[in-house]
Amino acid sequence: MQLDFVNRELTIKLVYYGPALSGKTTNLQALHKSAEPGASGRLMTLETKDDRTLFFDLLPLTFRNQGSLAVRLKVFTVPGQVIHASTRRLVVQGADGIAFIADSRSIETQHNTESFMDLRENLKQHGLTLKQMPLIIQFNKRDLPDVRSDAEIAELASKGREPVYLAVATRGIGVVESMIGLLHLTWSALDAEHDLNKKFGFDSKAFLAQVAQKLGSPKPVPEILQACVGGALDVLRPEAG
């Protein structure tokens, strides 16, 4: 998080993490597509010829709250390929919240696990733990055959602490919900640490509603948050305080 007192501007860094080809970039593309003009800047993608992310993708989103605090969200992806370990570590540095994009297909389970361990290791290198980090998990590619069943995911999700979302990023399904869930968690953690709502007269509920609306989701925020199939959304993480 970066706070610019002069311009009353807060920049929050969100990172989409996950194994190669799980749909991180597709998530950002879907967000970019659904965002109102003016709310979203250009989506910057640094890709190789085969459309794989080379370093990261960067989507800037800007929202201005009634409390006159401008909130800029910078959404990053990391390159999923194993060889880009050093780049992943650089990008994940300073993240305020992380969305872990998992591939729902059964054959990809191992890759999901490896990538998650990699995330844990990279956070450790920066002196952080998973517990401290606002984190949601998205099971993407729900439309493909041979995916892990809804029941299986729901059962696993009910045991874990991280909110879990189901998505088909190529069709924009579940993308905004995941983002709002992540933002909700991230904001709660940042507010617990820096007392932002009070200091800036910030209305976080109205802010979430504004973000949802500008991302093209007219539903009320509580309804959007309910899209989560497990985990704890409303628990403030005490470790973050």
Binding site: Q2, D4, T11, K13, G41, R42, M44, L46, L54, F55, F56, L58, P60, T62, R72, K74, F76, H84, S86, T87, R89, L90, V91, Q93, G94
Partner: protein, 473 residues
């Protein structure tokens, strides 16, 4: 490895606090674009960074301004306009217009990137279409200026409608935004390349450090092992000397006459004691060589003397096995820089080995001839042209007609305690230490040793030792 001083951190570059116009756009190319814009639309254009640095300018060709600059009052008026334009407050839409006291108009607009102002563009001066006469303020600026000329130059000023200028501004802003975006992306890419190389470098350094620590520890352990071996060998020799000495005295009858059987038993004790002493000496040598504490006393050494001496010493052993020993040395061989005693040990060892593995009526030949070696090691990848200064060397051969050494084993026979065939050892005796000591001694002479086949059967050990001290490598 430190990053270049000007390098910005990843966060500075991506979270939008460190990006400035000069970083993202090539200044020369921007200047060209500004000029081309002026040629196309006939509206002068200047571009400033947020700090007020002029980055692109196509306004210096205005004839009226050149004329005004020739007088003091004109210069003052123009500089007043210039400073006002740089600090003119801009409206909500990031734009403002400015009308000079001398009658011309300007349009000032912000250059934004990622929601932040990073510079401003100034379009003008231009005259609105409806302006026909220069204002009095211009005509009365300085009485020395020719009024007719002023009028003429004023009329020649670029003319534009404010609406069209606003459209031009919007177009320019979009064009610049695209350029800035591309510049930013390129900057980020190169920055990420650097950063990830630096990160990988750091990782490798970490690993290297760990390896170095492990390596140092192993070296220390190896040294301890050699020390231990040296101490133990030394301590073993002392009692052994007494065992050999007393059994010798017994055999010589110093303690009274012995029966034949007693003498035979004591003789066996003495022989085995001698064998054990040789083994311990070998271990001691090896540990000294391994720990690098054996010093070679090198001097100019005559090869023929060494080889003859070896042949003489080994003759009794050879006779016992009915093996002939021959010495063949080329005439006129030079003296070589070597430790004569250690060289003798090398060839004693090789000759003893050769005799051991040669069946009766075979022969062992010791020979020496002059040769040349390349100073460049054969496994060197390049620079042979430069490095292959040829050095004179002496090549020794110890050839036997024995059982031979299979090709696959030749590299390993020099390892300590290695035996090609342990059954032959039981028959022929030996500890497996000799050749490893031989190789280390030859290494100490900057020489080499290799094994080739003897025809029709047997083995040849070829030892090459340079004549002079090594000066390369």
């Amino acid at each position: 490895m430190l990053p270049p001083a000007a390098a910005k951190t990843f966060d500075e570059l991506t979270l939008g606090h460190g990006v400035c116009l000069e970083d993202l756009i090539d200044r020369d190319a921007l200047g060209e674009m500004v000029k081309s814009f002026y040629e196309l639309f006939n509206v002068p254009l200047r571009i400033f960074s947020e700090e007020g640095k002029l980055l692109g300018d196509a306004a210096d060709q205005i004839p009226l301004y050149a004329f005004l600059n020739s007088v003091k009052a004109g210069r003052a008026a123009l500089s007043d306009v210039a400073s006002k334009l740089k600090t003119l407050p801009l409206g909500e839409d990031g734009m403002a217009s400015f009308l000079c006291s001398t009658g011309e108009s300007y349009r000032v607009a912000t250059i934004q990137y990622d929601g932040k102002r990073i510079g401003r563009m100034i379009l003008g001066p231009f005259l609105a279409l409806e302006v026909s006469e220069p204002p009095q303020t211009l005509l009365t600026l300085d009485s020395t200026l020719d009024a007719a000329r002023l009028r003429e130059l004023f009329q020649a000023m670029p003319r534009a409608e404010d609406d069209s200028v606003v459209k031009l501004v919007r177009h320019l802003q979009r064009t610049l935004d695209l350029l800035l975006f591309s510049g930013h992306r390129a900057l980020l890419t190169s920055n990420m390349h650097l950063a990830s190389v630096r990160e990988s470098f750091r990782e490798l350094e970490d690993k290297n450090e760990k390896l170095q620590t492990a390596f140092d520890r192993l070296k220390e352990l190896d040294r301890l092992k050699s020390n231990f071996l040296a101490t133990v060998s030394h301590e073993l020799r002392t009692p052994l000397t007494s065992i050999i000495g007393y059994s010798e005295m017994l055999v010589e009858g110093l303690a009274g006459e012995m029966t034949g059987e007693q003498r035979e038993f004591v003789q066996t004790i003495r022989d085995k004691g001698e064998q054990l002493l040789q083994l311990i000496k070998g271990l001691l040598d090896l540990s000294k060589l391994e720990s690098g504490t054996m010093s070679l006393r090198k001097s100019q050494t005559d090869i023929l003397t060494v080889l003859r001496d070896v042949a003489q010493t080994m003759t009794p052993t050879a006779r016992k096995k009915e093996v002939d020993i021959l010495v063949e040395v080329e005439n006129g061989l030079p003296l070589i820089w070597a430790d004569a005693e250690r060289l003798r040990q090398v060839f004693l060892n090789l000759t003893e080995n050769a005799i051991k593995f040669t069946p009766p009526s075979g022969k062992v030949t010791l020979s020496a001839r002059i040769t040349a070696i390349d100073a460049a090691r054969s496994d060197d990848a390049g620079g042979v042209v430069i490095l292959s200064a040829r050095r004179t060397a002496v090549e020794f051969r110890v050839a036997d007609t024995g059982i031979g050494i299979p090709e696959g084993e030749r590299g390993r026979v020099f390892d300590a305690f290695y035996q090609v065939d342990s059954s032959s050892t039981r028959e022929a005796g030996g500890t497996g230490l000799g050749l490893s000591i031989v190789r280390r001694l030859i290494d100490g002479h900057d020489g080499s040793v290799r094994i080739v086949d003897n025809t029709p059967k047997g083995t040849v050990f070829i030892v090459t030792i340079p004549v002079k001290r090594a000066t390369i490598g």
